[in-house]
Structure formats: structure tokens, C-alpha cells
Amino acid sequence: MFQVSVKILLIFAVVSFSCTAKDLIQLPVEELAKESVTPIFERNDSVRNRNIVTEKRWEGNLFYGWALTEPIANVSKLGLSGYYHTTEDNAYGLIFSKNFSGVSQYAKQLKDQYSLDFTRAPMPESGLFLDYNWKAFYGKFSLSKHVVTNFHFFGSLAAGVTKYPHKTFPGVAIGLGQKFYIGKNSSFRFDFRVFANQAPIPFLKCEPGKYEGVKNSTTDSCNEPPPSYSDFKERITFSSVIDLGYSFLF
């Protein structure tokens, strides 16, 4: 029935288009979406012809990290990471981060108000972690109705080491992340991770004589010489970190 009609249509060489310059395009009601169900195909994958293809591609990432719950050490770090996307769902990578030196603003306040000096404590210097990303969702959103932004939402699982001046501690991290694509290759990447690792406790009480120094009264500042790093006790420490970065898919 339909095949014959192709020929018939060709005969109508001159047909005016229903919409003229003065018309206003209106979408007929019967053409508007009425159902929330989706069509059935042999393969019902949710997206095809993706704008962002990550499978079998490398990704480089530069980021700034901000430790949310770090009281003493400097909360900032810079890092770079590289990932290889084995599939559209999985990626494996290596993260290297270099911590800023010095102490946090909070530690500075403690020194100003209570003469507590944390500069003597061992601070993290750098970290090296192997990271696995499971890309749970690929989606898109549009705020302006003119620009469409694709995104990835993923979970991450990392294991590696954090280096302190005197020692290197193993640790693990678990987190969630999101990437917002500004092109087919570029994206802004946000990661939130909770790290768990063995770390030195930066708090050490000044006890006169213990470190061969003298303290005459409680109001005196501690005249003890700086303790060695090995004097600091260690324990499992949890810290939350947000990374903000720029990623590029090669």
C-alpha cells in the first residue's frame, strides 16, 4: 500500500508547504509526548550515538584539592591524574597529588591565640593512588534550552600511599564524582572522596623535661626543643577531600 504511494507522491511536484512566512509554528496536541514509557528494541540501551565517547580512550586531569576536615595541615593540594577507560562504564587511573606546605588557617589561629605551634608536626607532602571509576550515569541537562551539557556521574575507589616527611602511609579512599562536559573532549571534573589512612597525630603535649627542655610555669611557652617526627603517635585518620579539576579526553 505504502510503496505505491511513493510514486504517487512524486507526481505531486508542486505542493505548497503548510507553513508560510507569517505562520506561527504550533505543535499539534497529538504529537506531544503523552507517555513516559519507552519503545521496545532488540537492544534497549538508553543512549546511542553518544556525544561523549570514553571507551578505549585516555584521559588527563589537572585538579586542585581541598581537604574539608583537615584541621592542622594546609588544606590545599594540586594534582594530576591519568585514566584509561576500558569501557563506557569503567575507568582505571593513577592520581598524584602534591600538598601545599605549611599549616591551615585554623592552625595559624591556634598559634596566635594559644601559642600552639603545629609547624613541628609532620604534614602530608604528597599522595599516589590507583583509582577505579565506575561510571554509573551518563546524562545531559540544559539550563538555557540553547546549550546542552553532557555529564558523567561516577563512583570511585582508590588505594595508595600518602607520603609524610618521615614516613609513607598506606590508605584507601572512596568517593563520588561528576564531570560536566564543555565539548566532546573537555570537561570539568568534581570529586568528593573520603580517605582513610594511618597518619601521625599532630597534637603533642609539651611536658617539661621530657624533651630535655625547661618550662617554668604554665604561662611560659614551651621551651622544649622541637620533637622528632617519631615522637608523634599514629592512628587511623579519616579526611574528606573535594577535588576540582579540568579533564581532557585524548
Binding site: 500500500m1 505504502f2 510503496q3 504511494s5 511513493v6 510514486k7 507522491l9 512524486l10 511536484a13 505542493v15 508547504f17 503548510s18 507553513c19 508560510t20 512566512a21 507569517k22 505562520d23 506561527l24 509554528i25 504550533q26 505543535l27 499539534p28 497529538e30 504529537e31 506531544l32 509526548a33 503523552k34 507517555e35 513516559s36 514509557v37 519507552t38 519503545p39 521496545i40 528494541f41 532488540e42 537492544r43 534497549n44 540501551d45 538508553s46 543512549v47 546511542r48 550515538n49 553518544r50 556525544n51 545531559k140 540544559s142 534550552k145 540553547h146 546542552v148
Partner: protein, 526 residues
């Protein structure tokens, strides 16, 4: 319930066996008179014992040993006169054992023997087993022999339905509609009969009758779920009827009611595009084509839709888009045409066509390379969905299941009847595969012809495109610019007023967006 049915069956069999025993006794008495050799009398008396045993086993519901005993007796020359009766009872035993195909052969033999006493019963039984198997050959054979008046009332619906089907296939639409109309309301064949009756009317150009029947079917199924196949098929039929009546808007409206999560929705989308085109709703048609030509339809064989899209672009003078669509048509379907032609040229055996289809059935898209398909996946998918192929494949599945059941039946498999049954089924399976192969070949030939035709049309469309381009250039050279069109100043706020959020299309296709695209391109005609 099953228990009651079984009891009734046993009663029927007992009745037949009683009749048979009497007939056998009478026959034997006669033979005794003409028999002169004493050895013959001894043999017959031995056979009598065996037959009595077999009948007793049948009466007590021990179908397997009864069938085996009857099978051993059926070839005895001494029982030549009783052969139709023995075969009939053997068939009944096999039906009870759920070996319908092997049973069907026994009934065919009874019919061929021309024995008046059992022929009607055998036709009735054959009709029932052929119906349950979906075996068109046997059904045609049985229906050609049947006298509906001899059929028990409870099975008349089936026989009317099958008669209607045969008439419809033979394009005897009036007779087909009559046969379908005799199927009673409460019957399990009612929905299909109603649908086919409407189709027969539609084919006979009695569109209003068809519309009324489809509407009746929809009303019958009003309480069924939205995706009820009978209901959706009736809706499709209704939309097609309005299309045939050239009431485009009504047809479009009904096509829109087909639920998206039903497999018929894809056909509805394509056919609705036709209705839109015929109703000069080009923008709407292009909206549908955006879905139909998405990656989700890459394994659908719909060459015509690309040409339609090109024609719409021709109407709105979008020659560049036309060029793209025509190129896509050639890029996609030229290799298809070549592969079909080469396969048809190189394969003469029906079995090789079946084997190619079988390979397709074992894989899904993207796995096609693994099994080394010689024909494009979309072609085989299309053929596998054809009604005749689907039906024959379903029949093949049933007889293969029957064979598997016999293979796994232990002692029965090694018995004479078991070996005979496997032999019969193997032959049937082979013949059915050959038949399916022939169907595939015929469909491939049709596709080849269709593609040839469509490629010719593509050349005409391309000619129109070049002509159009030339005209536009001529006007430009003459200094007449194209007017500013509405689509240049689309206010997107309108779409927000509809309560929907519309995203600009950026090349990727989302499953939940299929069917929701709206074409907003501008027309370029002066």
C-alpha cells in the same frame, strides 16, 4: 478439570475400542470361514490376543504400551482390513502422549485409506492436531476434506476460522469474511477471526465494514491493558482503514494512540509518517523521520522511509538535506542490494537460505559478525518477522520439541514406534526447513525487486533535486533573494508553554526521546 478431561477421553477411547472389538470379532468370524490353513488360524488367534491386550492397555489409560503394541500390529498383513481402525486408535494414543505430529501421520493414513467408518473421525482429529501444531500443510489437507456439518459443535469455531484463513490467503475475501463471521463470540478464535474478517473487508475495499469491525474489536477489549496485542492490532487496523479511506487526520490521530511500549509502535510511527505526508503535514512527518532514522533503527529494513524524507525535503526546497538523505539511502541500501543479489546468485539450495536465517536467530545485532552472516542483519531480521516465516518457525519449534521429548523418553525411544517417530519427525523437520528456506528465498527476491524499484525512484528524486537547485540558482542570479521565513525567528518560549522542556538536538539519540522529536527547520521555498 484436567482430571475430568482425561476421564472423558478414556470414555471416548473405550467407546471406540468397544466398537472396534465388535468389528474385529465380526471380521474374524468372516475370515474364519474362508481360512482353510490351520497355521493361519493359530496366527490369527495369537494376533487376537495381542490386539485384545493392546485395547485393554488403551482402555486402562496405559497409552505408551498400547501404542507400541498397536504399532507392532498395524503392519501385519493378516490385519489389513483392520488397519484404518488400528491406525486411528494409534493416532489417538499418540495424541494422548502429546506426540501430535506423529499422530497426525496416522490420521492422514486413515483418511487416505478411504475407510468410511473412520474417515470423518480421522479428519476431525487431524484438524485438531494440525491446529495445535500450526501446521499449514496438514491444516489445508484436513480442511479440504472436512464437512463442517460432521464436525462437533465445540470444534466448529476452529474449522470456520481455518477455512477463513485459507480463503483469505487465496484472496477469496467475501468467502473469507463469511467463514470468519461464523466463529462464535466466546470462542478463543474470536479475536483473530474478528481481525481477519475486518482485514478481508479491507482487502475487498469495504472500508466502512472494516472500520466497524475494528471498532467492535476495540470495544470488546476496552477493559484490557493498554498494550493488549489484540487491542493494539485492532487500533492499527482502524488507522489503516482510515488511511485507505484517505482520512489522513483521523488516521494520524489513531496511530498516535498506539502505545509506545508495544512492538507494533514502530510500524505505527512509519505508517503515521505516510499519513502525515499525504495530509501535507510535512513538519510532522519530518519529526517522525528524526526518530525513524536514528541509531535505534539501524537494524530495521525501511528503505522507503529515506526516500519519503527526501521527498519532503524536496517539497520544502531543502536540497542540501535531500542530498544527505539520498546519500544515506545509497550508502545503506546499495550494499544490501548487492549482498542480496550475490546471495541469490550463489545459493540455489533452499537449505542454505534456512541456515542463514537460523544463524541470525541465534544472535543479536553486533554479534552478527561472530557468526559470519552473508546477508545483512537488517534483511534477515525483517524476513524473520514476516508472518509466514514466523508461523513456520513456530511449527518447526514444536516438532523439534516433540522430537526432543521422544529422544528423552528412555525406553520408548528405542522401541519400534519410537524409532519410527524420530524418523518421521526428522523428515518433517528437514522438509519444514526446506519450506522456510523457500520462503526466505521468495522474500529475498521481493526485497531485491523492491530495492531495484526504489533505486530507480531515488534517481528520479535526485533529478528533481538537481532541477530545484538549478531553479534556485537561477533566481539568485536574477537577484531575487529568498524571503525571510518564520523559522528564522522561532520563539522557544512557546514550547515551554506546552509544559514540556525541549532540548536542541546535538547528534545523540536517547531512548526516552524516540518518538518525541519535533522538526523545527525552516522551509526554503520562495
Amino acid at each position: 478439570m484436567n482430571h475430568i478431561i482425561q476421564k472423558v477421553n478414556i470414555l471416548i477411547i473405550s467407546f471406540i475400542l468397544l466398537n472396534f472389538s465388535l468389528a474385529y470379532a465380526a471380521g474374524k468370524t468372516k475370515r474364519k470361514i474362508i481360512t482353510s490353513k490351520p497355521g493361519s488360524v493359530v496366527r490369527e488367534s495369537g494376533l487376537k490376543g495381542q490386539l485384545s491386550n493392546a485395547l485393554s492397555l488403551a482402555q486402562s489409560g496405559q497409552y505408551q504400551p498400547a501404542a507400541q503394541a498397536l504399532f507392532n500390529l498395524v503392519k501385519r498383513p493378516e490385519l489389513e482390513n483392520e488397519r484404518p481402525q488400528i491406525k486411528y486408535i494409534l493416532g489417538k494414543m499418540l495424541v494422548e502422549m502429546k506426540y501430535s505430529q506423529v499422530a497426525a501421520y496416522q490420521f492422514v493414513d486413515v483418511i487416505r485409506s478411504g475407510n468410511n467408518r473412520y474417515i470423518k473421525k480421522a479428519i476431525e482429529e487431524l484438524s485438531l492436531v494440525a491446529d495445535s501444531l500450526g501446521d499449514d500443510t496438514l491444516l489445508n489437507y484436513a480442511v479440504s476434506k472436512v464437512d463442517v456439518n460432521d464436525f462437533p459443535d465445540k470444534n466448529k469455531d476452529m474449522i470456520y476460522f481455518r477455512i477463513g484463513e485459507i480463503k483469505l490467503k487465496n484472496r477469496e475475501y467475501e468467502d473469507a469474511a463469511n467463514a470468519f463471521s461464523k466463529v462464535t463470540f466466546g470462542s478463543s478464535y474470536n479475536n483473530q477471526a474478528l481481525y481477519n474478517r475486518a482485514m478481508a473487508n479491507l482487502e475487498n475495499n469495504k472500508i466502512d465494514n472494516a472500520i466497524a469491525l475494528f471498532q467492535q474489536m476495540i470495544d470488546h477489549r476496552s477493559k484490557s491493558s493498554v498494550t493488549d496485542t489484540n487491542k493494539v492490532a485492532a487500533q492499527m487496523g482502524l488507522a489503516r482503514s482510515y488511511y485507505q479511506k484517505q482520512e489522513w487526520d483521523t488516521a494520524i490521530d489513531i496511530y498516535s494512540q498506539i502505545p509506545r511500549d508495544h512492538f507494533l509502535w514502530h510500524d505505527a510511527l512509519f505508517e503515521q509518517s505516510w499519513a502525515m505526508l499525504r495530509g501535507a503535514r510535512f513538519r510532522s512527518a519530518l519529526s517522525n523521520f528524526q526518530s525513524l532514522h536514528s541509531s535505534y533503527y539501524e537494524d530495521f529494513y525501511i528503505p522507503e522511509s529515506l526516500l519519503l524524507r527526501a521527498i519532503v525535503y524536496l517539497y520544502i526546497c531543502k536540497y542540501d538535506e535531500m542530498e544527505k538523505v539520498l546519500s544515506l539511502f545509497e550508502k545503506t541500501y546499495e550494499p544490501v542490494k548487492i549482498k542480496i543479489g550475490s546471495f541469490l546468485g550463489n545459493s540455489s539450495e533452499s537449505m542454505s537460505y534456512y541456515q542463514e536465517l537460523e544463524k541470525k536467530l541465534s544472535v543479536k545485532r553486533q554479534e552478527d559478525l561472530l557468526v559470519g552472516l552473508k546477508l545483512p542483519y537488517m534483511v534477515l531480521k525483517n524476513i524473520a518477522e514476516e508472518g509466514d516465516v514466523r508461523r513456520s518457525l513456530s511449527y518447526l519449534r514444536r516438532i523439534q520439541e516433540e522430537k526432543n521429548a521422544i529422544e528423552n523418553s528412555g525406553g520408548f525411544r528405542s522401541s519400534g514406534l519410537g524409532q519410527y517417530s524420530v524418523r518421521v519427525l526428522n523428515t518433517r523437520i528437514k522438509n519444514t526447513k526446506v519450506l522456510i528456506g523457500d520462503m526466505v528465498k521468495a522474500h529475498l527476491q521481493n526485497m531485491k525487486d523492491e530495492l531495484q524499484d526504489l533505486f530507480e525512484q531515488a534517481s528520479f528524486i535526485r533529478y528533481e533535486m538537481i532541477n530545484g537547485k538549478k531553479e534556485t540558482l537561477r533566481k539568485k542570479i536574477a537577484g531575487r533573494d529568498l524571503p525571510n521565513t518564520i523559522d528564522n525567528q522561532i520563539d522557544r518560549e512557546f514550547y515551554i508553554e506546552n509544559g514540556f522542556e525541549f532540548y536542541p538536538f546535538k547528534g545523540e539519540f536517547w531512548l526516552d526521546e524516540i518518538g518525541n522529536y519535533h522538526y523545527l527547520g525552516k522551509q526554503s521555498c520562495e
